[in-house]
Amino acid sequence: MEFIAVAFDTGGKAAVEARIKSADIAERPPVLARLMGWSPDLWAKQTPPTYLNLIDEAHIVGERYGMVNVPQGVWIDEAGHIVRPAESAGTADMVRHMNRETFEVPDAAVNRGIEIRNTYIEALRDWARNGAASRYILPPAEVRRRMRGPEEADVRAATHVRLGRHLFASGALDRAKHHFDAAVRLCPDKWHYRRQSYMLDPESIGQLNVTPGFWAAVDALGDESFYPPADFSHAQ
């Protein structure tokens, strides 16, 4: 099985390099072990990724696969067919429970996050072992039913983002922001556009967004989930 990580990052290499290279990994705060559900054994084994890491400055993969946030995962079989569409890839709603001063997360939320993550990883391992016989792959009709089919607003928003990325690369930051903001207005549910739009200033490139604007957007979700867990009910 091939793992391909795609960074939706208009800041390009400057935004993502430190996260991928070993120096940053050595500085990972231990609280991440809790947030990611890594056991002490896994934490001790952490290394830089050996899988392919790609950079998608214009978020084109997000458009083509109907993604609405990061991280999301897609399963593609040997024939190039989508067997699970874009969905949260083992990520839990930690952000909804996080203390905004200390970034600590209550035990109950951590435990729920670990459960969601492990369930997803076990499903992925099952597919790796069993391929087409895995109970976690979905029949085509179910894949289509779960897909976020594109609407006019989606393709227009993606076009704004493409132009915004071009303007960003040209140094026209204010105009780039204008087009990212337009994409957010067209597709308010696409968090990768929204989160990117907050983080275009040169001083914020590569930083995790914990600004009041981000928290306000999260709060505006109300009872909706930031990372709805992958639905494995079909496998039961």
């Binding site: 890491n53 998608d56 696969y65 992925l124 609407e151 076009t159």
Partner: protein, 136 residues
Amino acid sequence: MAVSTILYDDHTTVGLGAELDGDHLWLTPADLQRATGWTLEPEGLCRGDACVRLDAGWQDVQGRVDLAALARHLGQPVVREDTAGAWAFGASVNTRRDQLFALEAPDFTLPDLDGKLHSLADFRGKKVFMFSWGSY
């Protein structure tokens, strides 16, 4: 008004001599081909196996082609930035919907940290777990 940059499919073409006149975006056939891959043929405008009949008003007296009119015909979203003389043309919603619902994983080509390009199609024959992330 001059338009010098066109974003079309995954390509960005600069140094064009396109001219905006009302809602027409006039390009010479050479610029049209360079920016979009569409060529002026006896059948109309063609790209790959597809040809579109040239409607009245799509060509001016200088022989230039109205790319904005073609985009409207194809249902493509068009976004412009006049301060930069740049226009972006997206895929139509039908194109994207057909691609996605066919369940054929849409291809893409992107760089890694070293700038080396990789395409999803390179991995045909293997299972692929693809996941997005962002630094933000």
